[in-house]
Amino acid sequence: MLDNTVEVETPEHVRFRFRAAGPTRRAWAYLIDLLVRAGVLLVVEIVLLLATGQHLRSSGAVFNGGTLLALFLIEWGYFVAFEALWNGTTPGKRGLRLRVVKEGGYPLSFMDVVLRNLLRTADFLPVGYLLGVLVMTWDGRFARLGDRAAGTMVVIEDPVRVAPPIVLEPPPSEAEIESFPHRIVLPLPEREAIELLLRRRDLSPARRLELADMIAPTLQRRWGVRLDDPVRFLALVYHLAVGGAAPSRPREVPPTQIGDRP
Protein backbone atom coordinates (compact mmCIF):
# COMPACT_ATOMS: atom_id res chain seq x y z
CA MET A 1 0.00 0.00 0.00
CA LEU A 2 1.31 3.41 -0.91
CA ASP A 3 1.22 5.12 2.40
CA ASN A 4 2.35 8.46 3.69
CA THR A 5 1.41 7.95 7.31
CA VAL A 6 4.15 8.14 9.89
CA GLU A 7 3.63 6.41 13.18
CA VAL A 8 4.98 8.05 16.29
CA GLU A 9 5.22 6.59 19.73
CA THR A 10 4.97 8.84 22.77
CA PRO A 11 6.55 8.28 26.18
CA GLU A 12 3.19 6.81 27.25
CA HIS A 13 3.61 4.18 24.55
CA VAL A 14 0.71 5.60 22.68
CA ARG A 15 1.10 5.42 18.97
CA PHE A 16 -0.51 7.92 16.72
CA ARG A 17 -0.16 8.74 13.11
CA PHE A 18 0.84 11.76 11.10
CA ARG A 19 0.39 12.26 7.43
CA ALA A 20 3.71 13.28 5.91
CA ALA A 21 3.53 15.93 3.20
CA GLY A 22 4.90 15.04 -0.21
CA PRO A 23 6.94 17.11 -2.63
CA THR A 24 4.00 18.52 -4.59
CA ARG A 25 2.20 19.97 -1.65
CA ARG A 26 5.40 21.36 -0.25
CA ALA A 27 6.31 22.86 -3.62
CA TRP A 28 3.01 24.75 -3.64
CA ALA A 29 3.69 26.04 -0.14
CA TYR A 30 7.16 27.07 -1.26
CA LEU A 31 5.67 28.91 -4.21
CA ILE A 32 3.35 30.86 -1.94
CA ASP A 33 6.27 31.71 0.32
CA LEU A 34 8.25 32.79 -2.71
CA LEU A 35 5.47 35.15 -3.72
CA VAL A 36 5.21 36.50 -0.18
CA ARG A 37 8.95 37.10 -0.14
CA ALA A 38 8.80 38.85 -3.50
CA GLY A 39 5.94 40.96 -2.19
CA VAL A 40 7.84 41.93 0.93
CA LEU A 41 10.85 42.88 -1.16
CA LEU A 42 8.64 44.98 -3.42
CA VAL A 43 7.17 46.83 -0.45
CA VAL A 44 10.64 47.44 0.98
CA GLU A 45 11.78 48.80 -2.39
CA ILE A 46 8.81 51.13 -2.67
CA VAL A 47 9.28 52.41 0.86
CA LEU A 48 12.99 52.93 0.21
CA LEU A 49 12.27 54.76 -3.03
CA LEU A 50 9.75 57.02 -1.35
CA ALA A 51 11.97 57.61 1.66
CA THR A 52 15.07 58.47 -0.35
CA GLY A 53 13.14 60.28 -3.05
CA GLN A 54 15.20 58.76 -5.81
CA HIS A 55 14.47 57.30 -9.16
CA LEU A 56 15.30 53.72 -9.92
CA ARG A 57 17.89 54.67 -12.49
CA SER A 58 19.84 57.02 -10.27
CA SER A 59 19.41 54.81 -7.24
CA GLY A 60 21.75 55.87 -4.51
CA ALA A 61 23.70 54.16 -1.80
CA VAL A 62 20.94 54.08 0.79
CA PHE A 63 18.59 52.47 -1.66
CA ASN A 64 21.14 49.87 -2.71
CA GLY A 65 22.20 49.20 0.84
CA GLY A 66 18.63 48.81 2.03
CA THR A 67 17.85 46.50 -0.85
CA LEU A 68 20.82 44.28 -0.11
CA LEU A 69 19.99 44.11 3.57
CA ALA A 70 16.38 43.24 2.76
CA LEU A 71 17.54 40.61 0.30
CA PHE A 72 19.76 39.07 2.92
CA LEU A 73 17.07 39.00 5.57
CA ILE A 74 14.52 37.58 3.18
CA GLU A 75 16.84 34.98 1.74
CA TRP A 76 18.18 33.60 5.01
CA GLY A 77 15.78 34.87 7.63
CA TYR A 78 12.30 34.35 6.24
CA PHE A 79 11.88 30.65 6.90
CA VAL A 80 13.84 30.71 10.14
CA ALA A 81 11.80 33.58 11.56
CA PHE A 82 8.41 32.18 10.61
CA GLU A 83 9.10 28.60 11.57
CA ALA A 84 10.51 29.71 14.90
CA LEU A 85 7.73 32.15 15.73
CA TRP A 86 4.78 30.34 14.17
CA ASN A 87 5.66 26.92 15.53
CA GLY A 88 6.83 25.29 12.34
CA THR A 89 4.62 27.08 9.85
CA THR A 90 5.09 29.82 7.29
CA PRO A 91 2.42 31.68 5.33
CA GLY A 92 2.77 29.17 2.51
CA LYS A 93 2.66 26.21 4.87
CA ARG A 94 -0.43 27.59 6.56
CA GLY A 95 -2.05 28.02 3.19
CA LEU A 96 -1.56 24.33 2.49
CA ARG A 97 -2.09 23.23 6.08
CA LEU A 98 1.45 22.04 6.59
CA ARG A 99 3.55 22.15 9.72
CA VAL A 100 7.12 21.19 10.48
CA VAL A 101 7.47 19.03 13.58
CA LYS A 102 10.19 16.92 15.13
CA GLU A 103 10.18 13.30 14.10
CA GLY A 104 8.65 12.45 17.48
CA GLY A 105 5.78 14.81 16.80
CA TYR A 106 7.08 17.51 19.11
CA PRO A 107 7.41 21.18 18.24
CA LEU A 108 10.65 22.44 16.74
CA SER A 109 13.39 24.03 18.75
CA PHE A 110 15.21 27.04 17.36
CA MET A 111 18.23 24.88 16.61
CA ASP A 112 16.17 22.55 14.43
CA VAL A 113 14.72 25.51 12.57
CA VAL A 114 18.14 26.98 11.85
CA LEU A 115 19.67 23.70 10.71
CA ARG A 116 16.86 22.61 8.43
CA ASN A 117 16.69 26.01 6.77
CA LEU A 118 20.41 26.67 6.39
CA LEU A 119 20.70 23.31 4.69
CA ARG A 120 18.17 24.37 2.07
CA THR A 121 21.23 25.39 0.09
CA ALA A 122 22.29 21.75 -0.10
CA ASP A 123 18.78 20.61 -1.00
CA PHE A 124 18.62 23.20 -3.72
CA LEU A 125 21.60 21.68 -5.55
CA PRO A 126 22.19 21.47 -8.43
CA VAL A 127 19.16 23.54 -9.30
CA GLY A 128 15.57 23.93 -8.13
CA TYR A 129 15.66 21.59 -5.12
CA LEU A 130 16.45 18.63 -7.36
CA LEU A 131 18.61 16.92 -4.77
CA GLY A 132 16.06 17.59 -2.05
CA VAL A 133 13.23 16.03 -4.03
CA LEU A 134 15.39 13.04 -4.95
CA VAL A 135 16.24 12.48 -1.32
CA MET A 136 12.58 12.82 -0.35
CA THR A 137 11.61 9.86 -2.51
CA TRP A 138 13.97 7.71 -0.47
CA ASP A 139 12.21 8.21 2.75
CA GLY A 140 8.81 7.43 4.18
CA ARG A 141 8.63 10.85 5.78
CA PHE A 142 9.52 12.74 2.61
CA ALA A 143 12.40 14.32 4.49
CA ARG A 144 14.76 16.46 2.47
CA LEU A 145 18.40 16.72 3.52
CA GLY A 146 17.73 19.57 5.91
CA ASP A 147 14.91 17.63 7.52
CA ARG A 148 17.09 14.60 8.01
CA ALA A 149 19.90 16.57 9.55
CA ALA A 150 17.56 18.35 11.94
CA GLY A 151 15.36 15.31 12.57
CA THR A 152 12.21 17.03 11.40
CA MET A 153 9.32 16.23 9.10
CA VAL A 154 6.57 18.20 7.41
CA VAL A 155 3.10 16.95 8.26
CA ILE A 156 -0.34 17.64 6.86
CA GLU A 157 -2.85 19.15 9.24
CA ASP A 158 -6.04 18.84 7.28
CA PRO A 159 -9.09 19.31 9.46
CA VAL A 160 -10.74 16.02 10.24
CA ARG A 161 -14.15 15.51 11.69
CA VAL A 162 -16.23 12.70 12.99
CA ALA A 163 -18.71 11.55 10.38
CA PRO A 164 -22.35 11.65 11.41
CA PRO A 165 -23.81 8.48 12.87
CA ILE A 166 -25.66 6.11 10.61
CA VAL A 167 -29.27 6.64 11.53
CA LEU A 168 -31.96 4.33 10.25
CA GLU A 169 -35.01 6.40 9.65
CA PRO A 170 -37.76 5.21 10.03
CA PRO A 171 -36.78 2.50 12.56
CA PRO A 172 -36.55 -1.01 11.14
CA SER A 173 -39.89 -2.77 11.08
CA GLU A 174 -40.43 -6.26 12.42
CA ALA A 175 -40.88 -7.52 8.89
CA GLU A 176 -37.57 -6.12 7.75
CA ILE A 177 -35.70 -7.71 10.64
CA GLU A 178 -37.52 -10.99 10.12
CA SER A 179 -36.44 -11.09 6.49
CA PHE A 180 -32.76 -11.29 7.52
CA PRO A 181 -31.01 -14.37 8.89
CA HIS A 182 -30.78 -14.53 12.64
CA ARG A 183 -27.15 -13.67 12.82
CA ILE A 184 -25.30 -11.58 10.32
CA VAL A 185 -21.55 -11.67 10.10
CA LEU A 186 -20.05 -8.80 8.20
CA PRO A 187 -16.35 -9.06 7.35
CA LEU A 188 -14.34 -5.94 8.18
CA PRO A 189 -13.67 -4.80 4.60
CA GLU A 190 -17.36 -4.98 3.78
CA ARG A 191 -18.24 -3.14 6.93
CA GLU A 192 -15.75 -0.45 6.09
CA ALA A 193 -17.15 -0.16 2.59
CA ILE A 194 -20.66 0.30 3.94
CA GLU A 195 -19.50 2.86 6.48
CA LEU A 196 -17.60 4.76 3.87
CA LEU A 197 -20.70 4.94 1.76
CA LEU A 198 -23.24 5.78 4.44
CA ARG A 199 -21.18 8.20 6.52
CA ARG A 200 -19.93 10.34 3.74
CA ARG A 201 -21.45 13.76 3.59
CA ASP A 202 -20.25 14.83 0.20
CA LEU A 203 -22.32 12.32 -1.74
CA SER A 204 -25.50 13.43 -3.40
CA PRO A 205 -28.48 11.13 -2.70
CA ALA A 206 -28.50 10.04 -6.35
CA ARG A 207 -24.84 9.12 -6.30
CA ARG A 208 -25.24 7.34 -2.98
CA LEU A 209 -28.07 5.31 -4.45
CA GLU A 210 -26.01 4.49 -7.49
CA LEU A 211 -23.08 3.26 -5.42
CA ALA A 212 -25.30 1.35 -3.01
CA ASP A 213 -26.89 -0.36 -5.98
CA MET A 214 -23.50 -1.78 -6.89
CA ILE A 215 -22.83 -3.27 -3.47
CA ALA A 216 -26.30 -4.29 -2.31
CA PRO A 217 -27.10 -7.07 -4.81
CA THR A 218 -24.11 -9.15 -3.72
CA LEU A 219 -25.15 -9.01 -0.11
CA GLN A 220 -28.83 -9.49 -0.94
CA ARG A 221 -27.99 -12.64 -2.80
CA ARG A 222 -25.86 -13.88 0.07
CA TRP A 223 -28.68 -13.70 2.59
CA GLY A 224 -31.59 -14.09 0.16
CA VAL A 225 -33.08 -10.79 1.16
CA ARG A 226 -35.00 -8.48 -1.16
CA LEU A 227 -35.39 -4.81 -0.42
CA ASP A 228 -36.22 -2.11 -2.92
CA ASP A 229 -34.07 0.65 -1.47
CA PRO A 230 -30.39 -0.41 -1.56
CA VAL A 231 -29.30 2.46 0.73
CA ARG A 232 -31.80 1.43 3.35
CA PHE A 233 -30.79 -2.17 2.87
CA LEU A 234 -27.14 -1.38 3.60
CA ALA A 235 -28.03 0.70 6.65
CA LEU A 236 -30.14 -2.17 7.88
CA VAL A 237 -27.31 -4.62 7.36
CA TYR A 238 -25.01 -2.35 9.27
CA HIS A 239 -27.42 -1.99 12.17
CA LEU A 240 -28.09 -5.69 12.43
CA ALA A 241 -24.45 -6.66 12.17
CA VAL A 242 -22.84 -3.87 14.18
CA GLY A 243 -25.73 -2.27 16.02
CA GLY A 244 -26.04 1.40 15.23
CA ALA A 245 -27.41 4.36 17.07
CA ALA A 246 -30.74 3.53 18.57
CA PRO A 247 -33.14 4.69 15.90
CA SER A 248 -35.85 5.55 18.37
CA ARG A 249 -34.06 8.72 19.37
CA PRO A 250 -32.72 10.34 16.28
CA ARG A 251 -29.98 12.81 17.15
CA GLU A 252 -28.70 15.78 15.37
CA VAL A 253 -24.99 15.61 15.99
CA PRO A 254 -23.59 18.70 14.40
CA PRO A 255 -20.40 17.96 12.51
CA THR A 256 -17.70 19.37 14.74
CA GLN A 257 -14.38 20.29 13.30
CA ILE A 258 -11.35 19.09 15.09
CA GLY A 259 -7.84 19.92 14.20
CA ASP A 260 -8.63 23.04 12.25
CA ARG A 261 -6.95 26.05 13.71
CA PRO A 262 -7.53 29.37 12.05
Partner: protein, 324 residues
Amino acid sequence: MNRTQDEFVAARKPAWDELDSLLAKKSLLHKLPPVSISRAASLYREICADLMRARGAGFSGDVIDVLDSLSARACAALYSAPPARSAGLRALITTGFPTSVRRHARFMALAVVLFVLPGVLGFVGAVRSRGFAIQLMPESMVAQMEKSYSDLGHGRAETTDSMMASFYVYNNVGIAFRCFATGLLFGLGSMFFLVYNGLLIGVVAGAVTAAGHGRNLFTFMAGHGAFELTAIVISGAAGMVMGYALIDTGSRSRWDSLRAKARDLFCMIMGAALMLLIAAFIEGFWSPSSVQPVVKWVVASLLYVLVLSYLVFAGRHSSARPGR
Protein backbone atom coordinates in the same frame (compact mmCIF):
# COMPACT_ATOMS: atom_id res chain seq x y z
CA MET B 1 -18.81 -1.58 27.58
CA ASN B 2 -19.40 -3.16 24.25
CA ARG B 3 -20.63 -0.02 22.63
CA THR B 4 -21.03 0.60 18.97
CA GLN B 5 -19.08 3.25 17.21
CA ASP B 6 -21.87 5.78 17.18
CA GLU B 7 -22.59 5.31 20.86
CA PHE B 8 -18.89 5.54 21.62
CA VAL B 9 -18.57 8.75 19.65
CA ALA B 10 -21.64 10.26 21.27
CA ALA B 11 -20.37 9.40 24.74
CA ARG B 12 -16.80 10.57 24.24
CA LYS B 13 -17.26 13.57 21.98
CA PRO B 14 -17.65 16.14 24.79
CA ALA B 15 -14.20 15.24 26.11
CA TRP B 16 -12.69 15.51 22.64
CA ASP B 17 -14.28 18.87 22.08
CA GLU B 18 -13.10 20.10 25.45
CA LEU B 19 -9.50 19.21 24.70
CA ASP B 20 -9.83 20.68 21.25
CA SER B 21 -11.00 24.00 22.63
CA LEU B 22 -8.23 23.99 25.25
CA LEU B 23 -5.66 23.47 22.53
CA ALA B 24 -7.24 26.04 20.26
CA LYS B 25 -6.98 28.74 22.92
CA LYS B 26 -3.22 28.90 22.92
CA SER B 27 -0.80 26.95 20.89
CA LEU B 28 1.51 27.18 23.87
CA LEU B 29 -0.10 25.26 26.65
CA HIS B 30 2.10 26.63 29.41
CA LYS B 31 0.44 30.02 29.02
CA LEU B 32 -2.88 28.62 30.21
CA PRO B 33 -3.88 28.67 33.89
CA PRO B 34 -2.59 25.64 35.85
CA VAL B 35 -6.04 24.10 36.21
CA SER B 36 -6.46 24.00 32.45
CA ILE B 37 -3.03 22.46 31.98
CA SER B 38 -3.70 19.56 34.32
CA ARG B 39 -7.14 19.18 32.81
CA ALA B 40 -5.57 19.01 29.36
CA ALA B 41 -3.10 16.41 30.57
CA SER B 42 -5.78 14.13 31.93
CA LEU B 43 -7.94 14.64 28.84
CA TYR B 44 -4.92 13.75 26.74
CA ARG B 45 -4.53 10.44 28.56
CA GLU B 46 -8.22 9.70 28.20
CA ILE B 47 -8.06 10.43 24.51
CA CYS B 48 -5.03 8.23 24.05
CA ALA B 49 -7.10 5.45 25.58
CA ASP B 50 -9.97 6.31 23.25
CA LEU B 51 -7.61 6.08 20.32
CA MET B 52 -6.37 2.64 21.32
CA ARG B 53 -9.93 1.52 21.88
CA ALA B 54 -11.14 2.87 18.55
CA ARG B 55 -8.28 1.21 16.75
CA GLY B 56 -8.79 -2.06 18.56
CA ALA B 57 -12.51 -2.10 17.88
CA GLY B 58 -11.92 -1.31 14.22
CA PHE B 59 -13.97 1.86 14.20
CA SER B 60 -14.14 3.75 10.97
CA GLY B 61 -11.26 5.85 9.68
CA ASP B 62 -12.74 9.24 10.43
CA VAL B 63 -12.98 8.56 14.17
CA ILE B 64 -9.42 7.31 14.26
CA ASP B 65 -8.22 10.27 12.22
CA VAL B 66 -9.88 12.70 14.61
CA LEU B 67 -8.32 11.02 17.61
CA ASP B 68 -4.97 10.77 15.89
CA SER B 69 -4.83 14.44 15.09
CA LEU B 70 -6.18 15.47 18.48
CA SER B 71 -3.75 13.35 20.46
CA ALA B 72 -0.87 14.41 18.23
CA ARG B 73 -1.65 18.07 18.86
CA ALA B 74 -2.09 17.52 22.58
CA CYS B 75 1.16 15.58 22.77
CA ALA B 76 3.01 18.34 20.96
CA ALA B 77 1.54 20.93 23.30
CA LEU B 78 2.28 18.96 26.47
CA TYR B 79 5.80 17.93 25.51
CA SER B 80 6.76 21.17 23.86
CA ALA B 81 10.33 22.12 23.06
CA PRO B 82 12.19 24.31 25.52
CA PRO B 83 11.24 27.89 24.74
CA ALA B 84 13.90 30.05 23.12
CA ARG B 85 15.36 32.45 25.67
CA SER B 86 17.68 35.37 25.39
CA ALA B 87 20.00 33.51 27.74
CA GLY B 88 20.53 31.10 24.86
CA LEU B 89 22.30 33.77 22.85
CA ARG B 90 24.53 34.68 25.79
CA ALA B 91 25.43 31.05 26.37
CA LEU B 92 26.19 30.69 22.67
CA ILE B 93 28.63 33.59 22.76
CA THR B 94 30.27 32.89 26.10
CA THR B 95 30.66 29.13 25.86
CA GLY B 96 28.80 27.31 23.09
CA PHE B 97 30.57 28.83 20.11
CA PRO B 98 34.20 28.85 21.29
CA THR B 99 34.00 25.41 22.91
CA SER B 100 32.49 23.80 19.85
CA VAL B 101 35.16 25.38 17.68
CA ARG B 102 37.85 23.97 19.98
CA ARG B 103 36.21 20.57 20.07
CA HIS B 104 36.77 20.35 16.33
CA ALA B 105 40.28 21.77 16.32
CA ARG B 106 41.45 19.25 13.72
CA PHE B 107 38.81 20.33 11.25
CA MET B 108 39.67 23.93 12.02
CA ALA B 109 43.29 23.20 11.18
CA LEU B 110 42.30 21.45 7.96
CA ALA B 111 40.04 24.37 7.03
CA VAL B 112 42.84 26.85 7.64
CA VAL B 113 45.11 24.84 5.36
CA LEU B 114 42.47 24.51 2.67
CA PHE B 115 41.80 28.22 2.81
CA VAL B 116 45.26 29.70 3.31
CA LEU B 117 47.29 27.50 0.99
CA PRO B 118 45.30 28.32 -2.17
CA GLY B 119 45.28 31.92 -0.96
CA VAL B 120 49.08 32.03 -0.86
CA LEU B 121 49.28 30.23 -4.20
CA GLY B 122 46.85 32.67 -5.76
CA PHE B 123 48.69 35.61 -4.29
CA VAL B 124 52.10 34.50 -5.50
CA GLY B 125 50.75 33.54 -8.88
CA ALA B 126 48.97 36.82 -9.40
CA VAL B 127 51.93 38.87 -8.23
CA ARG B 128 54.22 37.10 -10.70
CA SER B 129 51.96 37.14 -13.71
CA ARG B 130 48.86 39.05 -14.64
CA GLY B 131 47.97 36.22 -16.99
CA PHE B 132 47.53 33.96 -13.99
CA ALA B 133 45.03 36.34 -12.43
CA ILE B 134 43.10 36.65 -15.66
CA GLN B 135 42.87 32.87 -15.90
CA LEU B 136 40.92 32.84 -12.67
CA MET B 137 38.92 36.05 -12.88
CA PRO B 138 37.52 38.15 -15.68
CA GLU B 139 40.02 40.80 -16.73
CA SER B 140 37.53 43.61 -16.16
CA MET B 141 37.10 42.51 -12.56
CA VAL B 142 40.86 42.42 -12.00
CA ALA B 143 41.14 45.88 -13.49
CA GLN B 144 38.34 47.17 -11.33
CA MET B 145 39.95 45.75 -8.21
CA GLU B 146 43.26 47.38 -9.10
CA LYS B 147 41.54 50.68 -9.65
CA SER B 148 39.44 50.63 -6.51
CA TYR B 149 42.46 50.16 -4.28
CA SER B 150 44.61 52.69 -6.10
CA ASP B 151 43.56 55.61 -3.93
CA LEU B 152 42.18 54.48 -0.64
CA GLY B 153 42.70 56.52 2.43
CA HIS B 154 40.44 59.42 1.66
CA GLY B 155 37.47 57.70 3.16
CA ARG B 156 34.10 57.30 1.56
CA ALA B 157 30.86 59.15 1.98
CA GLU B 158 28.89 57.76 4.87
CA THR B 159 26.00 56.64 2.68
CA THR B 160 28.39 54.60 0.59
CA ASP B 161 29.71 53.06 3.79
CA SER B 162 26.29 51.84 4.85
CA MET B 163 25.63 50.47 1.40
CA MET B 164 28.89 48.58 1.39
CA ALA B 165 28.19 47.25 4.89
CA SER B 166 24.90 45.83 3.62
CA PHE B 167 26.66 44.39 0.63
CA TYR B 168 29.18 42.63 2.87
CA VAL B 169 26.42 41.26 5.06
CA TYR B 170 24.61 39.92 2.04
CA ASN B 171 27.66 38.57 0.26
CA ASN B 172 29.87 37.28 3.04
CA VAL B 173 27.24 35.67 5.24
CA GLY B 174 25.86 34.08 2.08
CA ILE B 175 29.29 32.69 1.21
CA ALA B 176 29.77 31.34 4.72
CA PHE B 177 26.34 29.70 4.84
CA ARG B 178 26.89 28.09 1.45
CA CYS B 179 30.30 26.95 2.55
CA PHE B 180 28.64 25.27 5.51
CA ALA B 181 25.58 23.78 3.84
CA THR B 182 27.40 22.14 0.97
CA GLY B 183 29.38 20.21 3.58
CA LEU B 184 26.41 17.90 3.58
CA LEU B 185 27.89 16.38 0.43
CA PHE B 186 30.35 14.42 2.59
CA GLY B 187 32.32 17.59 3.21
CA LEU B 188 33.25 18.05 -0.43
CA GLY B 189 31.27 21.25 -0.94
CA SER B 190 32.88 22.93 2.05
CA MET B 191 36.33 21.91 0.88
CA PHE B 192 35.62 23.26 -2.57
CA PHE B 193 34.33 26.59 -1.32
CA LEU B 194 37.22 27.01 1.09
CA VAL B 195 39.75 26.43 -1.67
CA TYR B 196 37.79 28.54 -4.13
CA ASN B 197 37.36 31.52 -1.84
CA GLY B 198 40.92 31.30 -0.60
CA LEU B 199 42.21 31.26 -4.15
CA LEU B 200 40.01 34.16 -5.20
CA ILE B 201 41.02 36.36 -2.29
CA GLY B 202 44.67 35.49 -2.94
CA VAL B 203 44.39 36.36 -6.60
CA VAL B 204 42.75 39.71 -5.89
CA ALA B 205 45.37 40.57 -3.31
CA GLY B 206 48.12 39.46 -5.68
CA ALA B 207 46.78 41.41 -8.63
CA VAL B 208 46.37 44.57 -6.58
CA THR B 209 49.86 44.14 -5.16
CA ALA B 210 51.28 43.65 -8.63
CA ALA B 211 49.66 46.94 -9.61
CA GLY B 212 51.48 48.58 -6.74
CA HIS B 213 48.59 49.15 -4.36
CA GLY B 214 49.24 46.22 -2.02
CA ARG B 215 49.73 48.49 0.96
CA ASN B 216 46.32 50.04 0.46
CA LEU B 217 44.65 46.69 0.14
CA PHE B 218 46.20 45.11 3.20
CA THR B 219 45.54 48.20 5.28
CA PHE B 220 41.95 47.97 4.16
CA MET B 221 41.57 44.25 4.74
CA ALA B 222 43.46 43.97 8.01
CA GLY B 223 40.71 45.19 10.31
CA HIS B 224 37.75 43.13 9.23
CA GLY B 225 39.87 40.19 8.10
CA ALA B 226 40.23 39.07 11.69
CA PHE B 227 36.51 38.42 11.83
CA GLU B 228 35.68 37.72 8.21
CA LEU B 229 38.39 35.27 7.24
CA THR B 230 38.12 33.45 10.55
CA ALA B 231 34.37 33.14 10.19
CA ILE B 232 34.66 31.69 6.70
CA VAL B 233 37.18 29.17 7.96
CA ILE B 234 34.86 28.26 10.84
CA SER B 235 31.88 27.75 8.53
CA GLY B 236 33.99 25.58 6.28
CA ALA B 237 35.19 23.58 9.26
CA ALA B 238 31.58 23.16 10.43
CA GLY B 239 30.65 21.91 6.97
CA MET B 240 33.46 19.38 7.09
CA VAL B 241 32.46 18.27 10.58
CA MET B 242 29.01 17.63 9.15
CA GLY B 243 30.37 15.77 6.15
CA TYR B 244 32.71 13.68 8.25
CA ALA B 245 29.88 12.75 10.62
CA LEU B 246 28.19 11.19 7.59
CA ILE B 247 31.33 9.24 6.72
CA ASP B 248 32.63 8.05 10.09
CA THR B 249 29.41 7.18 11.82
CA GLY B 250 30.74 5.10 14.68
CA SER B 251 28.02 2.62 15.55
CA ARG B 252 25.24 4.99 14.58
CA SER B 253 23.26 5.39 11.41
CA ARG B 254 24.50 8.15 9.13
CA TRP B 255 21.86 10.65 10.09
CA ASP B 256 21.98 9.84 13.78
CA SER B 257 25.70 10.40 13.64
CA LEU B 258 25.10 13.80 12.08
CA ARG B 259 22.41 14.69 14.60
CA ALA B 260 24.77 13.92 17.44
CA LYS B 261 26.82 16.82 16.09
CA ALA B 262 23.82 19.10 15.53
CA ARG B 263 24.41 21.25 18.59
CA ASP B 264 28.07 21.85 17.73
CA LEU B 265 27.16 22.64 14.14
CA PHE B 266 24.50 25.07 15.26
CA CYS B 267 26.89 26.83 17.64
CA MET B 268 29.65 27.06 15.04
CA ILE B 269 27.50 28.39 12.23
CA MET B 270 25.61 30.86 14.40
CA GLY B 271 28.87 32.07 15.88
CA ALA B 272 30.35 32.45 12.41
CA ALA B 273 27.28 34.39 11.30
CA LEU B 274 27.64 36.78 14.26
CA MET B 275 31.30 37.26 13.45
CA LEU B 276 30.42 38.05 9.86
CA LEU B 277 27.92 40.66 10.99
CA ILE B 278 30.64 42.31 13.05
CA ALA B 279 33.01 42.02 10.08
CA ALA B 280 30.48 43.68 7.79
CA PHE B 281 30.23 46.69 10.06
CA ILE B 282 33.99 47.01 10.36
CA GLU B 283 34.37 46.56 6.63
CA GLY B 284 31.63 49.05 5.89
CA PHE B 285 32.52 51.83 8.29
CA TRP B 286 36.00 51.43 9.74
CA SER B 287 38.12 49.89 7.00
CA PRO B 288 37.38 52.55 4.35
CA SER B 289 37.63 55.46 6.80
CA SER B 290 40.43 58.00 6.48
CA VAL B 291 42.08 56.98 9.75
CA GLN B 292 45.88 56.79 9.61
CA PRO B 293 47.15 53.41 8.37
CA VAL B 294 49.26 53.03 11.51
CA VAL B 295 46.17 53.21 13.69
CA LYS B 296 44.42 50.72 11.43
CA TRP B 297 47.27 48.28 11.76
CA VAL B 298 47.37 48.56 15.52
CA VAL B 299 43.62 48.08 15.76
CA ALA B 300 43.79 45.15 13.35
CA SER B 301 46.46 43.46 15.43
CA LEU B 302 44.36 43.95 18.54
CA LEU B 303 41.34 42.49 16.76
CA TYR B 304 43.32 39.42 15.71
CA VAL B 305 44.52 38.90 19.27
CA LEU B 306 40.97 39.42 20.48
CA VAL B 307 39.41 36.92 18.06
CA LEU B 308 42.06 34.27 18.54
CA SER B 309 42.15 34.51 22.31
CA TYR B 310 38.37 34.46 22.37
CA LEU B 311 38.31 31.26 20.36
CA VAL B 312 41.11 29.70 22.37
CA PHE B 313 40.18 30.73 25.89
CA ALA B 314 36.53 31.72 26.11
CA GLY B 315 34.31 29.33 28.03
CA ARG B 316 37.19 27.23 29.30
CA HIS B 317 35.95 27.17 32.87
CA SER B 318 32.71 25.55 31.83
CA SER B 319 34.05 23.43 28.98
CA ALA B 320 34.39 20.51 31.38
CA ARG B 321 30.63 20.37 31.25
CA PRO B 322 29.83 18.59 28.00
CA GLY B 323 27.64 20.52 25.59
CA ARG B 324 24.10 19.33 25.53
